[in-house]
């Protein structure tokens, strides 16, 4: 079975979805990401969906799950590059993914992750919870 590659970039993981995702592929991505976040101690996940032509309720749910799971593993998730037609359709479908952070493109997404990481390290001086 094919899998979607996950790239490591510093403290972040980068996933570019380029295929018409079938359900099993989406689920395996969700599992793989959880594994990789834990094993690499990644602090952020960036998912580029700019080539994705549709996001239906299933893929929407997978994205939301990834965001939720990574939050538990202390990593931020940013979904980037959603096309206008996809976004319009998703909203009409009734899915607005409130728990998922978004950015226009990979660059902006990276900025967002970096800023989040920075404010966290700055703001958490003396905070015991970050000192694993």
């Amino acid at each position: 079975m094919d899998r979607i590659p996950i790239l490591k970039m510093g403290p972040f993981l980068l996933v570019t979805i380029q295929v018409d995702m079938h359900d099993r592929l989406a689920l395996s991505l969700q599992d793989d990401l959880a594994e990789r976040i834990a094993s690499t101690e990644a602090r952020g996940v960036l998912i580029d969906i700019s080539s994705l032509e549709i996001v239906d309720s299933f893929i929407g749910r997978v994205l939301a799950n990834i965001a939720a799971v990574s939050r538990v593993l202390d990593a931020q998730t940013v979904v980037v590059g959603m096309q206008p037609a996809v976004a319009i359709t998703l909203v009409e479908l009734g899915l607005s993914l409130p728990g998922v952070r978004t950015a226009l493109n990979v660059e902006r997404g990276m900025e967002l992750l970096r800023a989040a990481l920075e404010s966290e390290t700055l703001g958490s001086d003396g905070d015991a919870s970050t000192a694993f």
């Binding site: 979904v79 980037v80 590059g81 959603m82 096309q83 206008p84 996809v86 976004a87 319009i88 998703l90 909203v91 009409e92 607005s96 993914l97 409130p98 978004t102 950015a103 226009l104 493109n105 902006r108 997404g109």
Partner: protein, 287 residues
Amino acid sequence: MASPDSSILPAVVRDHQREILQQWIAEQSSGSNARSDLLSDAELRQQSSEFLQLFREAVQAGNLGNVMGTEWQGVRELLATVSKANAIRGFTPIDTATFVLSLKRPLFQQLTTDAGSDADLLARETWTVTTVLDSLALFTTEVFQRSREEVISRQQQELMELSTPVVKLWDGILAVPLIGTLDSARTQVVMESLLQRIVDTEAGIAIIDIAGVPTVDTLVAQHLIKTVAAARLMGAECIISGIRPQIAQTIVHLGVELVGAVTKATLADAILYALRQSGWSVSRGRS
């Protein structure tokens, strides 16, 4: 080759194509039929001769009962092209139908000559020509109508896009000042073009100013809200400014909070907010 009811029409058109064409052109450029203001003589001649050629081939193929048959495809295609061109040039549907109908007289004349004293034959042939040309004329009207509708809807679309420009205010900041009555269709066009511009310009913030909108019905309010949600999914933030008191009531009444939408009283406030959001600081220069 020969049609089942042994029509003489194929032979008549074949043997007298040139005369028929000349009479037909004369017919079309005479009196009330003339549209030389819209169509040059050369074009008219070209169109007519092409049509007659295709007409001759179709008639020769024998299926005179049904102009929607495959034998008539060439004729129909030419007529469709002519009708479409006419619709765009501002002809009336009558002009276009007349192009076909005016072929009746030359054909009748030729038939009368060739039928000689056979009145039965003449009556039958006249009937055949009448039905064929009438059906073709009807066909042009149909195509004309459809092309007209296409032209109109394209113009409407263009007008809508023109009437609501999405402007780039600053690096990364877009604004759409909405002015005039918003109906559902226009709102949808505006919103779609706003979202597309967000992608094109990589703008992280979009201001939708509705100060110039007299009323907002629930459908329009819903479009606004959906746009804000869609922009957020794409990674851009929307600011809605210029919300009048009644419109605020409509939105609240709808029971939907403007999730993710920042609202500002005026466009100026919105711009200030957007600049600060994108890391600019704004201060009055010393004089």
